[in-house]
């Protein structure tokens, strides 16, 4: 961490900043600009606007949002889905209302910003929780499809404006029907750009692929004169200059006429769409900021973020910008390029402005087809194939929401798709409220589990709760308190198994967090298991991982119930540790007799022992033994007693045996050259060894009634420090440590006054 600033005055802080972070931020800002310039222009194209307005947005909105926002890495700019919504909202308005497209867009931008600002001020941020992951994936995928279909005509270089196509299928039909009119030159430029954009990152991630691709296409177009109507005739390629000449000037301040002298009817008509746009923007910004904050540890102020976003748009409307929002790609590049503070975003705005000033003449020659080709590649990436596939495998209900939202983006105007998605979520929720099944798992003697109805398990120190089914947010509140009902006076640890739960990440987090707090109030510990990858990421982001404690979280694995087993071992070890000081050795049955009698195993045995199935591999055993040592912090060796499936004592695995196994394949001559890391790797090679094959089978054991002398004799003859005590049916019930045996013996041969305290 950098040292504290030397002065708290503004000048002092500025000087500190320049000294410490300015360079990193400037470089990060440059990386963002390099990636972002072609992207901004392409995204403007999505919205049906001249490319240069994308640059204006990347300058003005970005700067204002960064100044007033909170995240150090969130960079605002044009985004693909938002631009698609803008197109959908505004494309036919100029014809209908007689206003210019740009003025309409500025009005829309202003209203959207206002809504976001209000959300921020009124702390309505919670609304984003009602838009589940499935809705976002479906929406983004649908937007991707729409973008691709809409850009197809630019790729082919055909003009379908005469066809009056607006809906998705109309556009598709109109474009396809004109395939015969394809402008080969446009197609070449588009394909070339697409190939470079897709292919260059595979060569090296550090290359600014889109900049190179678009730059190359522009150069080719200019050098070969493909833009020139005089030489190419009808086959000329449309360039940026044709849409609107790019002036190398930053005089972008422009009072939007429709804002100062509103067409109220139009404003009203735009508001629902603006609301959708506002919500989309807030969701994107929230998701990005949270993802990055989980990596940087920055604590975010979401209210501040909303205000920043809203203010950015409202100001942007006065600077020729359309509604940009938190851009994932820009923010990711900013973070990965070493950006440290919000100044990085401002630097990126600055670099973009500089690019505009210096390269405007060149930028004018950017072929529309090239930008379209780039957009095709981007659109493809918007469809999260992996998530779509895994959604097909998961529950019916998330599927309905996801694909329903996706379809609605294509069928109804896209701005309503979000609302459709939310509506679907709510409708389904109403159907499945209370469909989270809770059962409890009870350990069987043969090491498996029995599932019993919730709250009907026998009281014990460890309660294992199995959560199954679909979990939706409104059910969450009741669930927390429902989960409390499994707690008995004896309960010390609750193990929550979440593997078979289909839950929205944020919902599950809210439940877990609340439950953890409820348990903490009751002085009960929480262990969770069966956590899938998705949930793991969300847990990290929400800080819950730290609260519950890494050692109390067990991730889902392929082997059935393995994470549950380990969670149970952990739970038991927690109980053991808690009992440490409180435990007294309990004599079975009878009261202490008045007549001194022989000391038996029962008198000295330690009931704290962890049993482990002998079917496991060395990896799990090493982890468990390491946990045991860590928990008890004793200096004594802690052997692991292994049991058969039926619970009878099978074998003993000692730390020495494990160490010998680790060292077994090391070459004695070369071994002293190995550093710790290599040594660790060599040890790991043994992790897949089955412990049954290396443990000491058939360790000598005693029963509770065995006399102390016999126990000590075994200790001497077998040279062991720990002897297992088994019950009649061969189950381990305790351990005898040689030190405890000796102590008891020493006391029995020593007059009481001399005995140890």
């Amino acid at each position: 961490m950098p040292e504290k600033p030397s002065h708290q005055t503004l000048a002092g802080r500025a000087a500190d900043y320049v000294r410490r972070d300015a360079r990193a931020d400037a470089m990060a800002g440059l990386s963002v600009a390099v990636m972002g310039v072609p992207q901004a222009m392409a995204y403007a194209l999505i919205a049906g606007l001249p490319p240069v307005y994308g640059l204006y947005t990347a300058i003005a909105t970005c700067a204002v949002s960064a100044l007033l926002g909170s995240s150090n890495h969130l960079v605002t700019g044009p985004t693909n889905a938002a631009c698609m919504v803008i197109l959908s909202l505004t494309a036919d308005l100029p014809a209908r209302t007689g206003h210019g497209l740009l003025e309409i867009v500025f009005l829309l931008t202003f209203i959207t910003g206002l809504i976001q600002l209000v959300f921020g001020v009124l702390k309505l941020g919670g609304i984003v929780r009602y838009v589940s992951n499935s809705v976002i994936i479906g929406f983004t995928a649908g937007a991707g499809i729409l973008i691709a279909v809409n850009q197809l005509r630019n790729v082919l270089g055909v003009d379908i404006s005469a066809d009056g196509a607006r809906r998705f299928h109309e556009v598709l039909v109109a474009t396809v029907s004109r395939v015969g009119e394809t402008n080969v030159y446009a197609l070449v430029l588009a394909a070339g750009t697409a190939l470079l954009v897709a292919g260059l990152p595979k060569i090296s991630k550090r290359l600014p692929a889109s900049l190179i691709a678009v730059g190359a296409a522009t150069f080719a177009c200019w050098a070969l004169g493909w833009y020139d109507a005089t030489t190419m005739g009808a086959h000329r390629v449309e360039i940026a200059r044709d849409i609107e000449p790019i002036r190398g000037s930053l005089a972008i301040f422009h009072v939007p006429s429709l804002v100062v002298a509103p067409d109220w009817a139009l404003a009203l008509e735009l508001t629902p769409g603006a609301l959708a746009l506002a919500v989309i923007g807030l969701i994107e910004a929230t998701a990005i900021a949270r993802t990055i904050a989980s990596k940087t540890g920055q604590r975010l102020d979401f209210t501040q973020e909303f205000i920043g976003q809203g203010a950015g748009k409202m100001a942007g409307a006065f600077f020729s910008s359309f509604a940009g929002s938190g851009s994932f790609t820009r923010s990711a590049v900013c973070y990965q390029s070493g950006g440290r503070t919000r100044m990085a975003a401002i630097f990126s705005a600055g670099w973009t402005a500089l690019t505009l000033l210096l390269f405007a003449p060149f930028a004018n020659f950017i072929p529309k087809a090239s930008l379209a080709g780039m957009l095709l590649v981007i659109a493809y990436s918007m469809i999260d194939k992996q998530r779509l596939k895994s959604s097909l495998k998961s529950g019916r209900f998330p599927q309905i929401v996801l694909f329903g939202t996706l379809l609605s983006t294509l069928v109804v105007p896209i701005q309503y798709a979000i609302f459709v998605g939310v509506a679907l979520s709510v409708l389904i929720l109403l159907r499945v409220t209370g469909q989270t099944d809770l059962t409890q798992l009870v350990r069987r003697p043969d090491e498996g589990f029995d599932e019993v109805p919730f709250n009907k398990a026998p009281a014990s120190a460890v309660a294992v709760v199995n959560m199954e089914g679909d979990l939706y947010f409104a059910a969450a509140e009741d669930l927390d308190y429902e989960l409390l009902r499994c707690i008995t006076p004896q309960t010390r640890v609750v193990v929550l198994r979440m593997k078979r739960l289909r839950a929205v990440g944020s919902t599950a987090m809210a439940i877990l967090e609340h439950y953890w707090e409820l348990l903490r109030e009751r002085d009960i510990r929480l262990v969770v298991c069966g956590i899938e990858d998705e949930l793991k990421d969300v847990m990290t982001g929400s800080g819950l991982r730290r609260k519950i404690g890494e050692e109390n979280i067990f991730y889902a694995d392929n082997k059935l119930l393995q994470s549950t087993e380990l969670a149970l071992a952990r739970a038991r070890s927690i109980c053991d540790v808690e009992r440490r000081n409180a435990e007294t050795v309990v004599l079975d049955g009878a009261d202490a007799p008045a007549v001194p009698r022989g000391i038996t195993a029962a008198d000295v045995m330690d009931r704290r022992c962890i049993r482990f199935g002998n079917q496991h591999q060395l990896r799990e055993a090493v982890w468990l033994m390491s946990e045991m040592h860590r928990q008890s912090r004793s200096t004594r060796a802690q052997p692991l007693f292994l049991q058969h499936r039926d619970g009878t004592l099978a074998a003993k695995l000692t730390p020495w045996r494990v160490l010998r196994e680790f060292a077994s394949r090391l070459d004695p001559d070369a071994v002293h050259e190995l550093d710790d890391r290599t040594l660790g790797a060599r040890f790991r090679e043994h992790f897949t060894t089955s412990i049954a094959s290396i443990a000491d089978g058939d360790p000598a054991a005693v029963t509770k009634a065995t006399g102390l002398a016999r126990a000590i004799q075994i200790g001497r003859d077998d040279d062991v420090d720990v002897i297992p005590v088994v019950s009649e049916d061969g189950h381990i019930t305790g351990l005898i440590h040689m030190a405890d045996a000796l102590r008891a013996l020493a006391r029995s041969v020593t007059p009481p006054e001399d005995a140890d305290a």
Partner: protein, 172 residues
Amino acid sequence: MPEHTEARHLMTTTVPTVRADATLREALRPMLAASAGPNDLAAVVVVDGDDRYVGLLTPRLAVKGALALWMPDPIDDEHGVDDDGGLTAVLAERLDEPVKAILVHGVPTVAPGDRLVRLIDTIARRRFDALAVVEDGRPVGIVTIARVFEAASDLALTPGDEGIELGGRRRT
């Protein structure tokens, strides 16, 4: 973080010692005082009049040494409770003898610079509970099996194991 784990990184900073001519009872007292937990003691180093290393005493080694000559008749388990085969008597005698009389010989020592592999080899081969770390003939610390095992398993286990993340352990 050292590149090589050595005995000096794993050993205790205090060395419980007892004179070779102290009685077994006195020698065992600190070890038997606490039950297993953070305060327990795995071993005591036996030293001579000049504080030079003579041997090591652990509960197991004590049993081995003190009862070396104890040859009980086969103990009948059913009556074992009351018939201890003379164990009590033998032990009662041995408790008052000097430690050096029951000391098990041939317990190896290690040097502060000895690396983990050597520690593993020494401690695991004959299953010692602990080893004395000796420098210039004087004991400077004790390395226990627990610490050696922890060190080895720390190296082997990675945060990716079963998705279980281990807290980092400091090497002191």
